[in-house]
Amino acid sequence: MSKQAAKQAITLKGSSALVTEFFKYGINTILFQREVYPSDDFHMVKKYGQTVLVTQDLALENYLERVLSQVQKWLLERSVTQLVLAIISKETRTPLERWVFDIKLVEPAEGEAPAAQKPDTEIQSEIRAILKQIVSMVTYLPVIHEPTAFNILAYTSDSADIPAGEWVDTDPLAIEASKSQQVKMRSFSTDVHRIEAMVAYRYEE
């Protein structure tokens, strides 16, 4: 019995790995769907019970790997609160889209028994729903006609341990409030983390 419980309980470490993995596939999906990188850079991989497109551009792969490994460290320290994938115009550097992932810690209320552990399959189906939603967003997000680049921003707490020289403070690459529209997306949660997704995009009449 106890063995089974121990097997099912998700730890901070496990949850961080899960969330980081979701970011990897989520970011890849966005980069593919929004055509930030040529579509034939991507190949299909079975993940979460569906095919996900993942880049095979080595440089990009390594870049994401480096970024996400640090994000995972922050997740373990509980010091990252938000991850933003900003799609910006390559020439003017104006932000066009911001894919925002709020990272919230799920903490059981005081004196309350922790909620029943969430089965793995349920988490996976929630992740699957988000990824599917990202894909479906393409239908109503404005078509981007110019070449784009992306940037990953991490919102961390002041006390976060930041590797010197690797991560630098930056501006939020925000889209002016008058010109942006926001769409809230699905969320998923493990027993430790709760990820809420949102996309803001530049929309001008």
Binding site: D57, N151, T156
Partner: protein
């Protein structure tokens, strides 16, 4: 304390009045001096003591104190006009009016200079216009709150910019061709292998044999394992070797070829004879027992890349695309010619009952032929029963199902990398599955509903697929250091021998025989304790290294 609410109000009234009164410079110059007397009272204090007071007063007071009105006199008035438009909240205006009446101010409430600077943007604009004065912490907090920014957190990004897309569109066709050679994403396991959860499939070879000089050529077929005698024949360049799986003895057939190479080997069904195809187009017949060459059947122009036996008929596939039936008993050995390929024939398999023959070629075609030779006349030709053109690359991997005679599996080369399952009776394609890399050989398991495929660059893997779901049961990546080209199934159907250009043969026990019950299993293992496992007879001989990693040489 009681005075504080009043005084700013008064000073504001003055300054407002100053604003109002046609902006005379003298008045404007006066207002800061008046206001300066209140400088010692810091802003947080003010707001703390007068919580009801809207931020209006604060900013206005600062204006008065610092003479912002003078600086941005015209601008602020323009602002006033725009901002006043929405009516100020009732309660605040009322409170102000009461105060005004007490101080008997002559200023009328309808004045347009009453700035309702509730919106943080305007205060933000003010503070930006006047950067010399540091904003109070409270103000910053309010600002931050209004702008939706959390002050005590950092926004970070990686110091490098993400890499630019590496290519321009003109390279797309080139990448399309290179794509089959790109290595697929690694398997999520540490061993680089994926196996079934429900049963254990060893991901390491049970035995490795050195086989120096194995030709690294996709189109050849250099490995054959006799079902009857449990011997393995392997061709290394010009020489053919027979390895006895029961005792591990190795014998060489003849003295080897000079000036050419062996391009294919195949055991006859009874294991007594070995057909050997050469690069010069000869088909040789060897007696395995005595090690003597019985005859050479010549007449071919290109290399004989594949051979298949059916009783006394030895069928050969040639580089020119023709398939010949050689009757090994007859002096005029060529009894039939099958013309159905325009490219080199590299895959050839007889169905066990000898009724159908399947062939695959470098022209991406799979043909199924009627196996009846019938009355043989000079120049007899057969016609293909089915011709399948679904593959998009050379078809070398061909396998007949052992437990369902109508099933045929075929696998395509690098650009195809697809396994198709055909029904040879109806000609329908029943299943198709994509694999990460070229399919070099296929075998059906005799006692499981599964088939194994071997693959070339880039994964160099062994894959086991279930049938009919075609799901991957196991995948062993990098089974060899170079592409896995040849394979042969043991007589018991549990061990697969693979050969590759890295000069070794590896034996994989992928289809362990299923045991009925646990008790019986134990007993059986006890009985076969000498290492003669499950009837393969692959003991390798105790002398010649019985450890699993034991390494021996073919020559």
């Amino acid at each position: 304390m009681a005075a504080t609410p009043k005084t700013p109000a008064r000073s504001r009234a003055r300054s407002d009045a100053a604003n109002n009164l046609a902006n005379t410079f003298s008045n404007l110059n006066l207002s800061p001096t008046k206001g300066s007397s209140y400088k010692p009272s810091p802003n947080p204090f003010m707001t703390a003591t007068t919580p009801k007071r809207p931020p209006v007063n604060d900013s206005l007071q600062r204006q008065a104190q610092e003479g912002i009105a003078k600086k941005g006199g015209l601008e602020s008035r323009l602002n006033v006009v725009t901002i006043v438009q929405p009516p100020p909240s009732q309660t605040t205006t009322q409170a102000k009016q009461i105060k005004r009446s007490k101080s008997s101010s002559s200023v009328t409430r309808s004045d347009r200079f009453i700035t309702t600077r509730d919106d943080p943007t305007s205060t933000l604009a003010q503070s930006q216009r006047n950067p010399s004065r540091p904003a109070s912490p409270d103000h910053t907090a309010r600002l931050a709150d209004a702008a939706g920014v959390n002050a005590n957190r950092r926004i970070l990004c990686y110091h490098e910019q993400p890499p630019a897309p590496t290519t321009d569109a003109s390279l797309n066709p080139a990448r399309e061709y290179a794509r089959p050679l790109l290595r697929p994403a690694s398997l999520p396991t540490s061993t680089g292998a994926q196996t079934n959860k429900s049963r254990k499939i060893p991901t390491q070879p049970e035995r490795i044999l050195d086989a120096p000089g194995m030709v690294d050529d996709f189109y050849l077929n250099l490995l054959s394992w006799s079902k009857a005698t449990n011997t393995l024949s392997v061709a290394l360049e010009g020489a053919t070797y027979i390895w006895n799986a029961d005792n591990g003895n190795v014998t060489q057939l003849g003295s080897g070829l000079e000036g050419t190479y062996v391009s294919s080997v195949d055991f006859s069904n009874d294991g007594m004879f070995l057909g050997v195809g050469t690069g010069e187009g000869d088909v040789e017949l060897w007696d395995v027992e005595t090690g003597a060459k019985l005859r050479t059947m010549s007449g071919r122009q290109g290399q004989v890349a594949t051979l298949a036996w059916n009783e006394h008929i030895l069928t050969s596939g040639c580089g020119d695309g023709s398939i010949w039936h050689h009757d090994v008993r007859m002096p005029r050995h060529k009894v039939m010619e099958l013309l159905g390929h325009t490219g080199e024939v590299c895959g050839l398999k007889w169905r066990v009952d000898g009724e159908l023959l399947a062939s695959g070629g470098n022209d991406n075609v799979v043909n199924i032929w009627d196996g009846r030779v019938g009355d043989v006349v000079e120049g007899a030709r057969g016609a293909a029963k089915w011709t399948k053109r679904n593959h998009t690359a050379a078809v070398k991997a061909i396998a007949w199902c052992t437990w369902n005679p109508s099933l045929l599996a075929s696998g395509g080369g690098t650009n195809d990398a697809t396994i198709n399952i055909w029904n040879s009776t109806t000609g329908a394609r029943l299943h198709t599955t994509h694999t990460p890399s070229q399919v070099t050989s296929l075998h059906w398991s005799p006692h499981r509903k599964e088939l194994i495929s071997t693959h070339g660059y880039p994964t160099n893997s062994l894959m086991i697929h279930s049938y009919p779901s075609m799901e991957t049961v196991a995948e062993i990546r990098d089974a060899h250091d170079s592409r896995v080209l040849f394979s042969a199934l043991s007589p018991a159907g549990d061990v697969v021998c693979t050969g590759a250009g890295d000069d070794v043969l590896k034996f994989w026990r992928v289809w362990e025989k299923e045991v009925v019950s646990g008790a019986r299993k134990k007993k059986e293992v006890k009985e076969s304790g000498q290492g003669n496992l499950m009837g393969t007879g692959l003991t390798g001989g105790v002398k010649s290294g019985s450890t699993k990693t034991g390494r021996m040489a073919i020559r």
